[in-house]
Subunit: 454 residues, 2 copies
């Protein structure tokens, strides 16, 4: 093991350069004009996996390809799957970035770039730990399969089919994912619950074209007004979502769970300052740590209507649209929720306009007991790698694929995330902490030893 | 006079070509990247006025220049001012145009292009009538000043200063403007009332950057949601604006006025079909013709927030904004209304976000008695030019400059518009009817005779 750790230490600067190469691909899965960049990134990654000593291949899907890489399979050893994603969120709004989003910039121990933390830096730490085993000839006590997909940011559309098609080949004792957060630099965390997601887009259409607001104003409904009314009707003053039945399957937090939140060293003032808001806003009756991880939410992600350029344009816009995501918690069901939400919005829509609701991606919420052997092994590895006791956490994000791993491969997932609260995931000026990068590699080194213990 | 009419008849095809040249300038006053096009259009127009026999000049302003052209001043003759504008609305959304907005396309008797009807075609008809007088050596019974500005679509920002600076020079008995509508091809109209306008933009700012909706969702207010709530709170189910005090100065329609609306041959079904909506929506208690001309309105002209590209982006947007215009009717005051509206929106805004309200252009509503000598002369000219009896109309649009003419020059304005209801002013596929273009020139020819009568 010491050889592995020494190798990791000795090659830090090369690892950083390689990570920068990985990050430079603008692999934005949501934007069709980046399709070629997605392919280039997948090819680079596949090639890199081969260079570090894995057998690797690119698996085509109807969407973006998946990179699959493996150690030499030795019978009798346990099998683990490491999952990550090479696709990233769109970089827009570009004007809020200090420097170019796809040109990595090092400032102190922070590496700024889109995808640095979510998820390239995190999955790259695992690859480097595996490289250390393979290049130093250290025996890996398990067989590893690395699966890095290109559609996580757009709902992992084709990963389930891939898992089904290769079910036998991918059988494993557990899945390891570093794509979640940790509360602070010195507090590693094992995440035992995730929120699910329901994404949708609504479009309200009124007149067949934009109309002169002077000539026609007063006689025809304004689609932007109707959209505003429908959206305003989704949430009440106590921060509760008003969709009937939405809360009926929500699993209540236990006393033990609520106590775990107290270990997180984040006070409301610091948090508020970090977000840059004067006041927080959330569901009455829950702490902000509970609100952001264990309660359902309704968020408007984008609004579009009419004239958005310089100055004014005196029109009644022909249409208005909004992008929405709802976060779900255990035991809510995305299909059921989508139906409830759609029905509620249709009911709220007047007959003066046409309402279209387009279903987006879905992800089930996730909950697994942290008492099992493998979860305990992961907790030991976290302590070793960070030199600090880890905590148990629920997280607010959604990793829909976790439920697919359970359903298709029968495997639980160990969520050992490396993202700091100020990493700006999904925001301008995303960054990855290089100390965490080192801890992450150490975690990768320790993890296979601990997980392989009987 | 026959020489004038013959000249107009004999030169139709040349006039059309010239109008197309005029229209080809993408003179969009609201968009800074068209600044050069604005100048080129003004220069072309100034040159054209000189070619038809007027003395002409370009008057610079801090914004877009004004073109001023005059007949030779003869003492003892009455003075009239013809007003128009060479600037046009933005052409966006471009994908809804059948052909390029600034490449005039003739189909039957319709000339399609941005600005064809609003206002280039209309002011060009007047120029051609004047040309006919000057080129045939026919005595004009009055002195004429033509003022064609470049900022009508952005609130005529600098025209009032221009009128003040040249007050003595511009003294006139009345102003003539063709920039309003007529109910149908065979029903000319004199507009005796216009709505005013208050334009504003509101911006709701929450967190200092876009946030990951999974990691932070549930703890911070969503600016797009707050914006929706503020906007939704501006109008009630009966189509009434909810701003306290907003209706207190509204002049009620007289019985005679309401009877005038009955002469307009437009039924609700045709109107609905024309707009492309299943159902109309307006203030309870008023017909749609009353709603669109004689009642205040609140319209959202545009919405902007968060991610608007392909697919989804799971963020809480940092900010959300809306462009709004309120239409005012006699005797509402724009300054008072802006204050009432701002106060109402500030009150509706929660402390979790920051609200900015940016004041846009203002225009007072306009009302003038149609019984006067000049109004009666205009009505006779309309009858002559169209061969049909004109009607008296209130119009929903705003021409803020009309109140400036009254205030600064002391002159009433005769609104003899040439826009048909289906001209798509401010919309994609704007057009101008060439029969109306001919009637408009005939109107220009007759008008100076009638107006000059004692």
């Amino acid at each position: 093991m010491q050889k592995v750790l020494d190798y990791l230490k000795d090659n830090q600067s090369r690892f950083l350069e390689e990570l920068c190469d990985y990050i430079r691909f603008p692999s934005v899965s949501a934007q069709p004009h980046h399709r070629e960049d997605m392919l280039r990134c997948a090819n680079w990654l596949e090639n890199h996996c081969r260079q570090i000593g894995l057998t690797s291949e690119i698996v085509e899907t109807p969407g973006h390809p998946i990179v699959v890489a493996k150690t030499k399979k030795e019978p009798g050893k346990p099998n683990f799957l490491v999952y990550g994603h090479y696709d990233v969120q769109p970089a827009e709004p570009l004007d809020l970035w200090t420097t170019e989003p796809f040109v990595p910039r090092l400032e102190g121990r922070s590496l700024f770039a889109r995808g640095a933390s979510d998820n390239k830096g995190q999955n790259f730490a695992h690859l480097k730990a595996i490289e250390a085993y393979l290049k130093t000839g250290t025996d890996l006590p398990c067989n590893l399969t690395v699966v890095i997909e290109g559609e996580e940011e757009v709902g992992s559309t084709h990963l389930a089919d891939f898992l089904k098609a290769r079910k036998d080949d991918l059988q494993c004792d557990a899945v390891v994912i570093s794509d979640t957060g940790m509360p602070a630099k010195n507090i590693p965390a094992l995440v035992y619950a995730l929120r699910g997601i329901v994404a949708l887009e609504i479009k309200v259409t009124g007149p067949s074209r934009d109309l002169h607001s002077g000539i026609f104003g007063g006689t025809v409904d304004n689609p932007a007004m109707v959209l505003s009314q429908i959206l305003a009707g989704l949430r009440d003053k106590k921060g509760r979502i008003t969709v009937p039945g939405l809360y009926e399957d929500v699993l209540k937090l236990s006393k033990y769970e609520r106590q775990q939140f107290d270990k997180i060293p984040l006070n409301e003032k610091t948090y508020r300052k970090f977000l840059g808001v004067k006041e927080l806003f959330g569901e009455t009756g829950y702490s902000f740590l509970e609100q952001r991880s264990s309660r359902p939410t309704c968020e408007i992600n984008g609004l579009t209507s009419g004239y958005q350029g310089h100055g004014s344009k005196t029109i009644i816009p022909s249409w208005a649209s909004a992008k929405l995501t709802f976060r779900l918690v255990p035991n809510q069901d995305p299909r059921k929720l989508f139906k409830q939400i759609s029905a509620h919005m249709k009911k709220a829509c007047p007959p003066t306009v046409r309402l279209e609701i387009t279903e987006g991606h879905h992800g089930k919420p996730y909950l697994v007991s942290p008492d099992g052997r493998l979860a305990q092994a992961a907790l030991r590895s976290l302590r070793t790698a960070f030199g600090k006791p880890p905590i148990l956490m629920r997280e607010g994000g959604s990793i829909p694929i976790v439920t697919s791993f359970k359903k298709i491969l029968g495997a639980d997932t160990l969520l050992v995330g490396l993202a700091l609260p100020d990493d700006n995931a999904h925001s301008p000026n995303e960054k990855f902490d290089l100390d965490i990068f080192e801890h992450g590699m150490a975690l990768g080194a320790s993890l296979w030893q601990e997980l392989a213990k009987p």
